[in-house]
């Protein structure tokens, strides 16, 4: 290994092995999820584990955590070989895992969440527990109102609570799965600051991520998996973004070339829009937004900044309190959702199971879902079955979604292929305004690039416009024409010339009202 002068590699060399996985093979049915993978986590080190969806990252971590038993291979902790039969075994060996969707129950208090499953005694001594909780929080530079309900926590507050949960359980090996998925850039910086502090105190930290800038900026060591095989295991100082990207997907990636275009007529104009959210709060506050034909606009923001309510108002599912929406030149007030679809409004829904497809229906039936009143799918009061079959075929072909026949149920497709289908469906039938909520969810790098490139092509060629919500700012910077930021229900545009500035947009994303 490199023995360079920088602090990172010194740390890498000087500390002991906390966990070692040797030659792990894990098979699910016919699929070999992990093939002879070895992995080491050292004390005092932040280790990145990267790879595409399905590369085996989470499987490997679940093996380390005890939640999955491998077919082959050995696990040793602090130099001793161990047998982990359940997650409880992992916990008792001081291994802690924070999954991407926080295991925090909003209805319980922060203290209750902190202790859950690891209460010191059957009778809970509130005062003692609070003082220990405060001690841990102070150590990390956090502060919590322990008796407040956890639903009051921001995403970064919830992430901090998850870290304290690890400390409460005396975890020495800490696994964090996509820890920054819900965080703004500033909160992500702070998170890695905390992780560095924990590593300095002797913890072994493993971060599962797909965001390469994070790996390069904050991690000491990186392990790359592809298709269940170990591709690389090296200090971060010995690699770079291009090499990592190539190791992850197996071939080089070129940054997309955003072709020049002249923005045309206004297709969507949202003016001083205020919308009430589920809890009665003003989820969208006086938002202004304009989409012109040809352009793909990114809507950056941390989760819960009002993106959902904005989409629902544009779709006609939520009535605005005030303000106006102009869709394709006409006032959309009191225009029904189905009428808006006829005008060319399309949605790539956030949660495809709840809002995008019916799992038990065939691909064919799902293809026309929501579009059933449009020519040529409609034939008088009926649905034209032949046209619908053609349309379903086009929807699977556009992004080469793998399927076993368009008459098979949607649930027979993998998550990524369902997403391809849903995205294609929104682009194919004369779209004018495309609302896309995390359109690349569950897709690998190639798949994501394809969806975005087709989205741009559709907007340019058919004079449509798209508004794309993503919680990954880097994705928006790479693939959209310009970006606006949403925070606390307000939309702000970066100043001219800074439309793609990571720093400025990052600041706008956290500027609450």
């Amino acid at each position: 290994m490199d023995d360079g002068g920088d602090v990172r590699s010194l740390r890498t060399e000087s500390d002991g092995v906390a966990a070692h996985l040797d030659g792990i093979t894990k098979v699910f049915g016919k699929l070999t999820a992990l093939d002879q993978v070895s992995f080491t986590a050292n004390r005092g080190r932040i280790q990145a584990l990267v790879g595409e969806n399905g590369a085996g990252k989470t499987t490997l971590m679940r093996v380390l955590y005890g939640a999955l038993k491998p077919e082959q291979g050995a696990i040793s902790l602090h130099g001793n070989e161990v047998q982990l039969d359940s997650a409880a075994d992992g916990i008792s060996h001081h291994i802690g895992m924070v999954s991407q969707h926080y295991a925090i129950i909003p209805e319980l208090t922060c203290l209750q969440n902190l202790m859950l499953g690891a209460e010191p005694e059957a009778w809970i001594k509130q005062a003692e527990c609070i003082s220990r909780a405060d001690e841990l929080a102070t150590k990390m530079g956090f502060s919590f109102d322990w008796t407040a309900k956890a639903e009051t926590l921001s995403p970064s507050g919830a992430q901090k609570l998850e870290i304290l949960k690890l400390l409460w359980r005396d975890a020495e090996i800490m696994i964090l799965d996509e820890p920054t998925a819900m965080l703004s850039p500033a909160d992500s910086d702070a998170l890695f600051g905390s992780l560095r502090q924990l590593a300095d105190q002797g913890a072994a930290i493993i971060v599962v991520t797909h965001r390469l800038p994070e790996v390069l900026d904050y991690c000491d060591h990186v392990t790359v998996l592809r298709g269940g095989k170990l591709m690389a295991d090296k200090p971060v100082s010995e690699t770079n973004a291009e090499e990592l990207a190539e190791l992850i997907i197996g071939h080089g990636v070129d940054a997309p070339v955003l072709d020049e275009f002249e923005p045309g007529e206004i297709l969507l104009k949202v003016a001083s829009l205020t919308v009430k959210g589920e809890r009665g709060d003003e989820a969208v506050q006086g938002a202004d937004l304009t989409l012109r034909s040809g352009e793909v606009v990114g809507l950056a923001g941390v989760d819960g900044s009002g993106q959902r309510e904005l989409f629902q108002a544009i779709l006609g599912l939520l009535n605005p309190v005030s303000g106006s929406i102009l869709l394709c030149g006409a006032d959309a007030e009191r225009v029904s959702p189905s009428k808006r679809i006829e005008q060319g409004l399309r949605l790539i829904a956030e949660d495809r199971h709840a809002e995008g497809v019916v799992d038990d229906w065939s691909l064919e039936a799902n293809a026309s879902l929501g579009l059933q009143r449009l020519e040529p799918l409609r034939s008088g009061p009926w649905i034209d079955r032949k046209e619908r079959a053609d349309f379903a075929q086009q929807s699977t072909d556009l992004f080469a979604a793998k399927h076993q026949g368009i008459d098979k149920p949607m649930s027979s497709l993998s998550g990524g292929n369902q997403q391809r289908f849903v995205a294609a469906r929104a682009l194919l039938l004369r779209p004018k305004v495309i609302l896309a909520f995390q359109p690349t969810r569950g897709l690998d790098i190639d798949g994501a690039a394809q969806v975005f490139s087709q989205l741009r092509k559709t907007c340019r060629d058919e004079n449509a416009a798209a508004l794309v919500v993503s919680f990954d700012l880097d994705e928006l910077i790479e693939h959209t024409d310009r970006i606006v930021a949403m925070s606390g229900g307000r939309i702000q545009s970066p100043p001219p010339g800074e439309e793609k500035s990571r720093k400025i947009i990052g600041e706008l994303m956290v500027e609450a009202g």
């Binding site: 409880a88 129950i105 909003p106 209805e107 859950l116 499953g117 690891a118 809970i124």
Partner: protein, 284 residues
């Protein structure tokens, strides 16, 4: 008049006893995430068993044990149906209520022990309603201050996340339904203790009223206790006013009898809207 008032207050305490015990049973069940409209069935089954064993053995202790046992068994059947076989919670509860109503009505007509005029040996009602108030306090403390209480709240709100934190939701729900059985057993035995005899459908929908009180109390022990007292008060009022002319008009007794139920309905419509059910209620 003051005499009347005293009497109404006394009957309020007495009449709300079965409601409080059943509502606490519902609290344990629903806080753990299991919808429980089978409170009624458990109470009826327990009342029937209490009278049968009390008459057969002459031992109030055995009568009590029998009542608790019967209700716990019904509770565990509900647990097996909903947690192991994933039957819809409402359907399982309806099925249990209907079966128990049928079975106990049949027993009342066929078993000689249930047909005597003599009162069966059952602990006095005062024992049970003292228990009701003591247990309400104990339940509130248990849920707020113990590990078991925290686990109960957690699995009731989010079974998946609880599992991630190393809890076993199915086990916790089985335990909770057993506790719900014990509490409904006490409630049923209390109802049986007032006359010492069993009459078909003698619980008279009070399991549902208890459920309404639980909802009105926002799935919390002490507010649910207060809601039970409120419904008990209307029941007492009904008993006192029934048969008395109001402003010279004789109201039919059926109208008076509907008073506690109407009160429950109106109270729910007015006040229960803001109460939040446990988020994992009915979820596997």
């Amino acid at each position: 008049m003051t005499n009347d008032m005293m009497q109404v207050l006394m009957s309020t305490v007495v009449l709300s006893g079965p409601l409080i015990l059943a509502a606490l049973g519902g609290l344990f069940s629903e806080r753990s995430g299991v919808i429980n409209i089978a409170l009624e069935g458990k109470m009826l089954g327990a009342a029937c068993t209490a009278v049968f064993i009390g008459a057969q053995t002459g031992s109030p202790l055995l009568s009590l044990i029998g009542a608790l046992g019967a209700a716990v068994i019904i509770g565990l059947i509900h647990a097996v149906l909903t947690q192991v076989y994933n039957v819809d919670h409402i359907i399982s509860g309806m099925g249990l209520n209907a079966s128990i109503l049928g079975a106990t009505t049949l027993f009342a007509k066929t078993l000689p022990q249930l047909q005597t005029d003599e009162a069966a040996a059952i602990f006095p009602s005062s024992f049970f309603w003292t228990m009701a108030f003591v247990l309400a306090g104990a339940a509130a403390l248990y849920i707020a201050r113990t590990r078991g209480g925290l686990h109960l709240l957690a699995v009731g709100n989010d079974p998946d996340k609880s599992r991630q934190m190393g809890l076993n939701p199915v086990k916790i729900r089985f335990k909770s339904l057993a506790v719900a059985g014990l509490l409904c057993g006490l409630s049923g035995a209390l109802i049986a203790s007032t006359s010492g005899n069993f009459v078909p459908n003698m619980t008279d929908g009070r399991g549902y009223i208890a459920l309404a009180a639980l909802i009105l109390g926002g799935w919390r022990a002490i507010p649910a206790l207060l809601a039970c007292l409120l419904f008990g008060f209307f029941h007492a009022l009904e008993l006192m006013l029934q048969g008395q002319p109001i402003l010279g008009v004789d109201l039919p007794p059926e109208l008076w009898q509907s008073l506690p139920y109407a009160a429950a309905l109106i109270a729910l419509a007015l006040f229960a809207g803001h109460n939040k059910a446990p988020a994992g209620l009915g979820r596997p």
